[in-house]
Subunit: 296 residues, 4 copies
Amino acid sequence: MAIVLGPNQYGKAEVRLVHVDRSAPAHRITDLTVSTALRGDFAAAHLAGDNAHVLPTDTQKNTVYAFARAGVGEIEEFALRLGRHFVGALPWVTGARIEIEQAGWERIPVGGTGHDHAFTRAGGERRTTVVTMDGETPYVVSGIAGLVVLKSTGSEFWGFPRDRYTTLEETTDRILATEVTARWRLIGVDHDFGAMFTEIRTILLETFASVHSLALQQTLYRMGEAVLAARPEVAEIRMSMPNKHHFLVDLTPFGLDNPNVVFYAADRPYGRIEGSVLRDDAPPAGPAWLTIPGFC
Amino acid sequence: MAIVLGPNQYGKAEVRLVHVDRSAPAHRITDLTVSTALRGDFAAAHLAGDNAHVLPTDTQKNTVYAFARAGVGEIEEFALRLGRHFVGALPWVTGARIEIEQAGWERIPVGGTGHDHAFTRAGGERRTTVVTMDGETPYVVSGIAGLVVLKSTGSEFWGFPRDRYTTLEETTDRILATEVTARWRLIGVDHDFGAMFTEIRTILLETFASVHSLALQQTLYRMGEAVLAARPEVAEIRMSMPNKHHFLVDLTPFGLDNPNVVFYAADRPYGRIEGSVLRDDAPPAGPAWLTIPGFC
Amino acid sequence: MAIVLGPNQYGKAEVRLVHVDRSAPAHRITDLTVSTALRGDFAAAHLAGDNAHVLPTDTQKNTVYAFARAGVGEIEEFALRLGRHFVGALPWVTGARIEIEQAGWERIPVGGTGHDHAFTRAGGERRTTVVTMDGETPYVVSGIAGLVVLKSTGSEFWGFPRDRYTTLEETTDRILATEVTARWRLIGVDHDFGAMFTEIRTILLETFASVHSLALQQTLYRMGEAVLAARPEVAEIRMSMPNKHHFLVDLTPFGLDNPNVVFYAADRPYGRIEGSVLRDDAPPAGPAWLTIPGFC
Amino acid sequence: MAIVLGPNQYGKAEVRLVHVDRSAPAHRITDLTVSTALRGDFAAAHLAGDNAHVLPTDTQKNTVYAFARAGVGEIEEFALRLGRHFVGALPWVTGARIEIEQAGWERIPVGGTGHDHAFTRAGGERRTTVVTMDGETPYVVSGIAGLVVLKSTGSEFWGFPRDRYTTLEETTDRILATEVTARWRLIGVDHDFGAMFTEIRTILLETFASVHSLALQQTLYRMGEAVLAARPEVAEIRMSMPNKHHFLVDLTPFGLDNPNVVFYAADRPYGRIEGSVLRDDAPPAGPAWLTIPGFC
């Protein structure tokens, strides 16, 4: 028996980058949080403290900023440029992982028109991507996080099995609320990523709204199915959807009924529903999902 | 010399209430976080553990939920109803403080139309109110929090004094970014609170966008001044505006210029600018600002 | 009627400073978060964007770091040095507010002895101070935050009034848990601040532990009273103590009793108990409590 | 091509449980956050909204509380009991995942002795476990999270490769600070889990303190190696160690030197070092690491 080094990676996490495109009077801003990680032969650093292979995380940060000078474009494209650079830069680097989260900004309307250079944050939603380089081969997983949605009716939950620990009552009308995290693995890397994101976001929202829900699992599946039906380049989609419970408050002690009007929004615990929808002929995922937090 | 009890208050904090108005096919949801506090004669509880005067915080929570059954309306109105109830309920309760934060929800558009009962969270912004009852006399301070804004140009900072610790360079073009917390004290309690909020929010945004900024203090003052000019019922407005620094990244080591294109968005430290704008004939504030966090 | 500028202040918030005292083989580290604010005549900046009086917040940050070079000492002393400097530096600066939070670090024990230069963070507690300069006159409010404590018995709550919204049952045995924030205003500025903090922290903990609690208000008062009894330089103490509810879980549906064994620790809502204890001959507080968040 | 359901799981997340052992005058408290997830045949719920297989997450929560009535013991044992219950309860449940985080509490010392029933929170550290049931076969991964450590000297970083984006200077003396997350996979399930945790925590701390660090990777490896050398039941350990940068402040503009005395503690970005150490004859991991966030 011997004790050996196993898988490892290292990089710079959460590089905060804001890019201003001033090429037209109406500026465009791109607000990113970029995390890089390198994989390869870093055994000497671990075993002997020899850093000859360890491109500093400070250098990785500098590279992110320097690459942004020429423009960012879609986050998938920026991540691919960075990933290819790192894998090509040093022979002992055999893989890389570039994760980007993009925060949205909207123009402030002044007199009915969006302002040229004044913006307000568009909520807590983030557009995401994780690009994994396996040698020269890229894998792209795009997504959305922080998409908080709620239905005030059109959600049921009944017909579930009961055991000795079951006290929950069946319901044919409840509030359904969740915060969607979705990640979709793409086939190939040449896509109109911006248009794709916009369409998938719309599909997720419209499907959540339109499906009469008998189970959060059903809603999740239908959302994923709709994305795959619309976008042939999506091989697979994985979703994590907490069931953010809204409990009907019992007002009978105060002589009041409560016909689904007054709810207590609970923090913890919460249900957690995780699932994936995929094509049965999807190409192999390779390392695409490696070290992506959450469901896999 | 004696050791004595000083000012005190107690209540229930952060009651999470979601109200669904189902009176029309298009539901309306109201998402509130309500905190209550009572003031009065609670000396026996402090000095002897005698709770004869201590209406339980659990009861205060129940009251919030029970009152919501009849409808919430504007948050100021709901807070006034609760505040008047608590002050009137028990003779030893001489004051109350009701703080409400409202989270926004927008209808999910489906086929171009807002859905009847499906919603998505409208960002991190909250509409706020603090109603303070001093006996039967109400004081209302309304506000907004979490309004994140950014200008990509139209902001300068120069002409400041320099001492031996000053290294900052002057600039005639910088990013100006902040997260506005504003609270406005109202004259009287009979207002169209919803319309007032909408107009003040618009004024704050438009003024931030339109003012060419020579100092964040100047922007703050102009925002407050514009609110007071437009809304005669506002006696005073207090604002806290962190200067969320966006530092230009030095790309010269990489042979690149950086004409205000690539920025590092810093977390800490940050500037903090706090100021108030008021009418010189404003009625006295009384206890309106008491225990409101931040600038006073 | 005219619209005028009201009270205002500005500064640099949350300067993260770690000082290493290497004067002996056993290093000592001081981990501070410092926030500065200046008060005075800043009207021109607000009204005209004229920064001739606005010592940059960047300069304030530099000053914090430069002053630390000569050693930090107790946080109250460091805040006093900074406050006096700012008030003395520029004629239009008539006041200052220096807030410091200190995080604790403990030596890692190796072979039974504390290591010379390796440390581990000592929990979420922070020692705090707010020094307010009113011209040349200093006011010192020291404190503690994040002190989380729990009693598994020795707490009752009964004898409270009941109204139509009261459903809470009386109890003679409950869990009492809170996160203490305490701030004590000092008479004078020449004290052994370190020893004072250590003793007050001990008094707060021991009193919480030892008092059989009939009300959280009673516990709060007894804690404050004990501090004032022990430390004559404390004029006043203010405390905020959330009642972090631990609800007994009803196990009867599963055929089980629950004699105060299994609890659900709730997040929100929570009770919030705020109170102050003071000497009846305490000198006036002046601006000591101005803009300190929370109870006042 | 068909669109199909992929891997999925669901359960209740973050059940907050506090257990009080009152069997002796000196109470013992166990503070847990428990998350459960079930795997198996839930296709009908996803595809048709048929919940016949969906044991409610509410029931899972109830089960956690009911099981705690008989005592919790070590978190690994409690997780194993829950995992075995869920897998055995319903034929379509073929797997389960029980994750537990334990917060530490220490007795408040009163007069030199730990109090019987008054406690204070012991920092931000958590002891963790994830038990995965693959049918009847259990896998146990235990760990620690939130262990914040710092060395004020004894850390170097030099000899790294330089490319056109490298500006970092070499150093032979820097602050090394990190927040350790470590998870160790166990061989078998019959261990003295409490003693094991205590010893491994000690080893992690002592090794961090004692190793003169040439690279954070080296420190990480040595910490993992020491754990495996001491505990034969550990098959593998995975660690994530952010490099929490402490930058030396340049005081030369103020005429001051700075011989490693005054540091700026940065929030973001930070380095992120992830690595694993294992036995070359370790048994297969199976699904032990599935859906554990972070490095894998």
